[in-house]
């Protein structure tokens, strides 16, 4: 029964030719210098079309945010707590002018300066909070899902208990515990970040745990077990890489939520004093009463800053997510050859 098999329908035919064409580009990609294989850069190189547009927009916004945070002292015309320059007071609630391009607030701060300095606080809180909860949540979720048994039960119960607690109340309690109600710049940032961390850990934990429990029964994990792969390798290579698909989404949502939680803390007086650091949420809250009297500049610009920051992070997260999954990634060669076929 040695038969040169008739090419079975859909077996080798068309998919083969453009895969063969693609092999060359894939091969070329593997030999490229190390810096092109860094996460974001390699994603950028792999992307095409709309995916690339999204990624580039997101990258521009995030880079803008980071550069502004880094160069805040150079970019901002005044200090974040300055109410006067060269002995002359700014005046309160001044509309945009040459001296104050975005106007001044009710307390007499320069809006542009506060928005620029605010990027520092936002970035610091976002990074601390999301990084801490990401690592802890993912590690716990992975362990809990893979090991199972009583460890799993205890952890799930704990996560549920934290979930049931009002997050803002938890954040307030944490900030009192951490900084004793005082609010200097780093004390405030850390308090906000850690309180946000505690609130977010259960989210990461649950998502990762649910995925791991599902993946644990997949044949490819069993295939690894049959081979004798160690637990650590199974968790790292087979489970983690497949379980992180939904992470960027929560990651980005949490990044925005962390800014909002920070603002809420500021509003309630547990955040950062306006004299120790600039913070958009605080400014936004102070601008609430202005909006009714037609003073739009005090609220618009901090709000816009929050929107752009969150949008940038979300776009990057979403497109990296799509590009990471070989099944969602659009591929250049294939699309071209499809067009050729269509023509």
């Amino acid at each position: 029964m040695t038969l040169s098999n008739p090419v079975p329908p859909g077996e080798e035919s068309t998919a083969d030719t453009d895969l063969a064409a693609e092999a060359a580009t894939v091969a070329a990609g593997a030999g490229s210098p190390w810096y092109l294989r860094l996460p974001i850069l390699s994603h950028l190189r792999r992307s095409v079309g709309l995916q690339r547009g999204m990624l580039v927009t997101g990258l521009v916004l995030v880079l803008g945010l980071l550069i502004t945070a880094l160069l805040a002292p150079l970019l901002a015309p005044y200090g974040f707590a300055a109410t006067s320059a060269d002995g002359t007071a700014f005046g309160t609630q001044q509309p945009p002018s040459a001296a104050h391009p975005l106007g001044t607030t009710v307390t007499g701060f320069d809006v542009l300066s506060r928005v620029i300095w605010g990027t520092r606080t936002a970035v610091a809180v976002m990074v601390c909070a999301v990084a801490a909860s990401l690592f802890l949540g993912v590690a716990l979720g992975l362990l809990s899902g893979y090991v199972g048994g009583w460890l799993d039960r205890v952890l799930v119960m704990l996560a549920d208990a934290i979930y049931a607690f009002p997050p803002l109340l938890l954040a307030i309690v944490m900030s009192i515990v951490i900084s004793g109600g005082q609010s200097n710049a780093w004390g405030g940032i850390l308090a906000a970040a850690l309180s946000i961390t505690v609130v977010f850990i259960p989210q990461y934990f649950r998502v990762i745990r649910a995925e791991v429990v599902r993946l644990k029964a997949e044949p490819f994990v069993e295939a690894a077990k049959v081979v004798g792969t160690g637990h650590r390798r199974i968790m790292g290579t087979h489970l983690l890489r497949n379980a992180t698909r939904t992470l960027p989404l929560i990651f980005t949502l949490n990044a925005s939520e962390s800014i909002l939680t920070l603002a809420a803390l500021g509003f309630l007086g547990f955040g950062i004093e306006p004299t120790s650091a600039a913070e958009w949420g605080y400014d936004l809250n102070r601008a609430m009463s202005d909006a009714t009297s037609g003073i739009w500049w005090t609220g618009l610009f901090p709000g816009l800053a929050i929107v752009l920051a969150v949008l940038g992070v979300t776009l990057v997260g979403e497109s990296v997510n799509d590009l990471n999954d070989p099944r969602l990634r659009t591929r250049r060669k294939r699309r071209r050859s499809e067009k050729k076929v269509a023509a």
Binding site: A20, A223, G228
Partner: protein
């Protein structure tokens, strides 16, 4: 038909044309009782029907397809029925609407052979009793030979050949049809055992045993208060070095459980299971790990047995990374390439991802991964049941060739007796956890000892209409009409 509008089409569906799907378990809605689902179609065509009428219709439809106690069973939910019964219910749904044409899309692919014989019998019976036309879509040439009057062969979106069933099997015109027919394993022809010379048979018989099972018992723990489920009930068998042992049985017979136990994926509860000299009963993972490199495993479903995030290269190299830590990346790559060659795939496939390959190609990769450490024992759990006939033939051919070249012992698990016979030196037949038959291919097929084996052999449709008609008659004589409940 093509030009019909939505509402007209809807009126046509059900009353004139009805469909039976491949997977009966997903074609029924799990949250509604059976009568409701049969009634859904009825209500769509006759909106004024009362609940009582619907139930009466449902009962008579279920009785027509041979489900006993229909009046009581219409209140049950789909999960309370077996696969064959669900397929009967699907047929009943078509009948309740009085469809003149039933389109059956691979109606028996998901079913066991014995159940398949009953469903085929039922379909034939339905045609005779209700004068319904049937379009059966299938890849199984045995089913075609058994059921069809005329056949159309499709290839790449075109019908390439159309002929009466006898004519098609006797003298196929197209090249593709010929090859397709040649690829179908035919029960009793080309038995792997008879293909060996006497010395080879002798050699295999005297080879040292690789796997010895004595009174092997495997249980799945029951829920609180319920007794454990006994999947394997005291099974004895021996696999010798260089021997291919075929394990046949219907789904739920415990054949996969035995394979998983040998690979250390399942714990044994009783008896003794010696794998490569290690006792598996109460084995500790640490003690078994060195043995794992001597065992290869090929999984049933090629779609899910690979990590979608790893390239083929990484998938095949995984056992090397675990067991041969001394190898450099370059050596590993070389090894992967040579294996890809061995399974007849081009070397540049190494950089692709699993989802970019077809099922047959993936199953070759699976074979390559299992063989990368040159194991002494290979466990293949239904490696070809997810593949098309022609693809299955090439994968089996590859398996046979690699086995002869590398000489590993193998446990080949399958539900298809014809496939097993063409590959295995020794065949074991499992029936509900008991090994009812154990012997060389020709012995089992021609002189079956157990009633179940005889039924299994009789219900397997052979790709030859004339022979199949005879077999069908014999089957009906011995076991009666299949219209009785499965």
């Amino acid at each position: 038909m093509v030009a019909l509008s939505g509402p007209r089409l809807r009126a046509l569906r059900g009353e004139d044309v009805s469909m039976i799907f491949q997977e009966p378990s997903s074609a029924l809605n799990p949250v509604f009782p059976i009568w409701w689902q049969i009634g859904e179609g009825l209500r769509a065509h006759r909106p004024k029907m009362t609940r009582k009428e619907i139930r009466a219709e449902a009962v008579s439809a279920l009785e027509a397809v041979g489900i006993p106690d229909a009046a009581e069973r219409i209140d049950r939910y789909p999960h309370e029925f077996s696969g064959g019964q669900k397929q009967r219910i699907m047929i009943a749904m078509a009948l309740a609407l009085g469809a003149e044409l039933i389109v059956a899309d691979e109606p028996t692919t998901a079913l066991d052979v014995t159940v398949q014989a009953e469903i085929l019998d039922l379909l034939r019976d339905v045609r005779d009793r209700f004068d319904t036309s049937l379009i059966v879509i299938t890849h199984n040439m045995g089913v075609v030979a058994d059921l069809a009057d005329s056949v159309a062969v499709m290839y790449r979106g075109r019908i390439i050949e159309r002929a009466g069933v006898k004519e098609l099997f006797a003298e196929p015109r197209e090249e593709y049809t010929k090859k397709l027919l040649a690829a179908v394993p035919h029960l009793g022809r080309r038995s792997a055992w008879t293909a060996l010379s006497e010395e080879q048979q002798q050699e295999i018989e005297e080879a040292p045993p690789v796997v010895v099972a004595e009174d092997l018992v495997i249980e799945y723990p029951g829920r609180l208060g319920k007794p454990a489920f006994r999947a394997v009930k005291g099974v004895d068998f021996t696999i010798r070095a260089g021997q291919v042992y075929g394990l046949v049985g219907e789904s739920g017979s415990g054949k996969t459980t035995i394979g998983r136990a040998i690979a250390g994926l399942e714990r044994t509860t009783g008896g003794s299971l010696q794998v490569l000299g290690h006792e598996m009963n109460g084995v500790r993972e640490k003690a078994f790990k060195p043995v794992r490199r001597r065992i290869g495993f090929v999984f049933q479903d090629p779609a899910t047995s690979f990590n979608p995030h790893l390239t083929i290269q990484e998938c095949i190299a995984e056992p090397l990374i675990v067991h041969e830590k001394a190898l450099s990346a370059g050596q590993r790559e070389q090894k992967v390439r040579s294996l890809l060659e061995a399974v007849e795939l081009p070397g540049d496939y190494a950089r692709r991802y699993p989802h970019e390959l077809s099922g047959g190609q993936r199953q070759r990769i699976s074979l390559a991964r299992a063989l990368v450490l040159e194991p002494e024992l290979l466990i293949a759990d239904e490696p070809t049941s997810a593949l098309d006939v022609s693809v299955q033939a090439t994968v089996l051919e590859l398996f046979r060739e690699l086995q002869q070249r590398l000489g590993f012992a193998a446990l080949f698990i399958s539900h298809d007796l014809a496939v097993v016979d063409s590959l295995a030196h020794r065949i074991g037949v499992l029936f509900r956890g008991d090994l009812v038959e154990d012997g060389h291919g020709p012995d089992v097929l021609q002189r079956p000892q157990h009633d179940y084996t005889r039924k299994l052999i009789a219900s397997l449709p052979v790709p030859d209409p004339a022979e199949q008609a005879k077999r069908r008659a014999a089957f009906a004589r011995e076991w009666g009409s299949g219209a009785a409940a499965s």
